[in-house]
């Protein structure tokens, strides 16, 4: 069985930098009649100014709840949080005037032009009409959207709309920019453009907090990550340190044409071990820091037991394998779940090999 990795209680901000976000025991419980759902369980986080910070987890892990509490729209059940030095519960207006938020859904006003969508936001934040217009045009230019200024918001493509929403969130020069699943529902090409844009915004000095359920997005963009699962913070640090916390293990999965118990003993004698072995029906999974030769051994062991290999995959150490080690369940990427009494393992489909 896996050992739980040490959970950092007090993540440390890089020395000598000011704090943009701090949370202490932040907790949220939703009650609906008799049902209670613990969406977030005692979160302690610190994000420094100028950081690019990511909240990584599957749907329902507690990411949006966390963003909701930090942006004052969700009331914490317990705990406290500060954004730019203002406490979320005690001074919501102080927080709101210092943050920019890009929600998951397209909330542009469809009847207004792109320019007006931005300019109105500036007016909300106390800019004069000419100043708001100037700032909006300047941002659209910077986002490569100058040509769409006069277009109605409903004429934009998904990727363009997301860029405009980022522009809108930047209108009042926020101290912290929150992005909730910024590339959800966007085609791959537009997704890369958005990554470029968000990277540029951060490079210009903007503190960015992003939620994502895409491992590649988290790895490509975020300097520091918090891995959240079922409302709990499992790990916090650079992508590299999280991979290390996950034991940097490769996962080798072999599926035979019949019940794999016949090879279980042989699998436990895989050279380079001991490894963690999970056997379920026709599938054997080996999680190891020494992956060399494991696959060949499993194929030979199957042959010796009269089994034929139907499918075999090796997943190198990645955020995905780290996630598997940290949570005890694989990251769902269009995969089939096999339920075991103690934990779930997942048959890695051929297409998921990286």
């Amino acid at each position: 069985m896996e050992t739980a990795p040490a959970r950092p209680r007090q993540p440390v901000t890089p020395a000598g930098t000011a704090t943009a976000i701090r949370t202490e025991g932040l907790r949220k419980v939703y009650r609906r009649g008799q049902d209670t759902l613990v969406a977030l369980e005692g979160l302690d986080l610190t994000v420094a100014q100028g950081e690019f910070f990511g909240l990584l987890g599957t749907n329902g892990a507690g990411k949006s709840t966390t963003i909701g509490m930090l942006t004052t729209l969700v009331t914490p059940t317990a705990g406290r949080a500060w954004v730019s030095g203002h406490e979320v519960g005690a001074d919501p207006v102080g927080v709101k005037s210092r943050i920019g938020v890009v929600p998951q859904a397209n909330t542009l006003d469809r009847a207004l032009t792109v320019l007006d969508n931005l300019a109105f936001r500036g007016r909300y934040f106390g800019m004069s009409a000419p100043a708001a217009r100037r700032r909006a045009l300047e941002l659209l230019e910077r986002l490569g959207l100058a040509g769409t200024a006069g277009a109605k918001a409903h004429q934009l493509s998904g990727g363009q709309a997301r860029r405009v929403m980022i522009g809108r969130a930047l209108m009042h020069v926020p101290e912290v920019l929150f992005l909730d699943e910024p590339t959800a529902g966007v085609d791959p090409r537009a997704r890369e453009d958005l990554w470029q844009l968000i990277g540029d915004v951060h490079a210009a000095g903007q503190t960015v907090v992003l939620t994502t359920h895409h491992l590649d997005e988290a790895e490509a963009l975020c300097r520091r990550l918090a891995v959240i699962d079922h409302g709990r913070l499992l790990a916090c640090g650079t992508p590299e340190s999280i991979k290390a916390a996950g034991g940097a293990r490769s996962v080798i999965t072999v599926r035979y044409d019949a019940d794999s118990r016949a090879v279980e003993d042989a699998a436990r004698r895989t050279p380079g071990g001991p490894h963690e072995i999970v056997v379920d029906g026709p599938t054997v999974q080996v999680r190891t820091t020494h992956p060399d030769g494991v696959l060949g051994h499993l194929v030979r062991a199957g042959g010796a037991a009269g089994l034929t290999v139907r499918d075999a995959t090796t997943t190198p150490p990645s955020l995905r394998t780290a996630f598997l080690t940290l949570t005890g369940h694989d990251y769902p990427v269009s995969s089939t779940h096999l339920t075991l009494p103690t934990k779930r393992i997942v048959e890695v489909s051929q297409s998921a090999i990286t």
């Binding site: 729209l73 919501p92 207006v93 709101k96 938020v101 929600p103 397209n106 909330t107 934040f125």
Partner: protein, 254 residues
Amino acid sequence: MYDLRVLSRNVPALLVQVGLQPLLFTFAFAYVMPGIGGGPGGTTSFPTFSTILLPGLMAGTLMLQSIMSVTGPLAAELGPGREIADRALAPLPLWALGLQKITSSAVFGLLSSLVVVPIVWLVHAPGAAPRAQVDNWPLLVVTLVLSALLASTLGLLLGTVIDASAFGALLGLLLAAATMLGCVYYPWAALDPLGWVQVLTLANPLVYMSEGLRANLTPAVGHMPTWAYLTALTTGTAALGHLTLRRFTRQVRT
């Protein structure tokens, strides 16, 4: 076929919805109006029916438009996209956001009620013109403003309390009930012979709006005393406003 299936999904509610509207109409026009000796085709002498209708329709329109102009957009904003979250991120307290919604729909309701004036003034049978006079302009303005605020506060409350899916039907019924029992087509004082109806209508905010405008525009027609409608409008707006803004804040913040 599909449409029938959709309709038949909720037969009892549909029947209530279909039946209640005619019931309210017959109650107002076939029971209340003859009971108080007025109504269309009733008295043609003073006060003319248009004189009764002028403040009544102004109040009715004001109430309807104030409520509709706040509930319509709100249902969309609280809906699946939760566009309200976007507005809620403006650097303002959430109650101020609710107050903005109340005031803007109050302005709209007030303007709509003014549209009624030329219509009632011009559309009538020969010799049946409304007879109106305004003795106290500031009081009229105060009455109109308070009425509009009360109506749009009510609209915001309904918008946050009623589930969006049940909204259309329920709002239609509520508005029909309010109009039929809201002293739009008859003055409150004329309800004397029907004591229980007279008492019942006191629960209807529209009564105070109609009667307030009646007192200011057509004082010759029997109307509620000024202290009564002003107290009702003021305390109603304050109490409902407090309740509504709290409710709205809770709805926006989860």
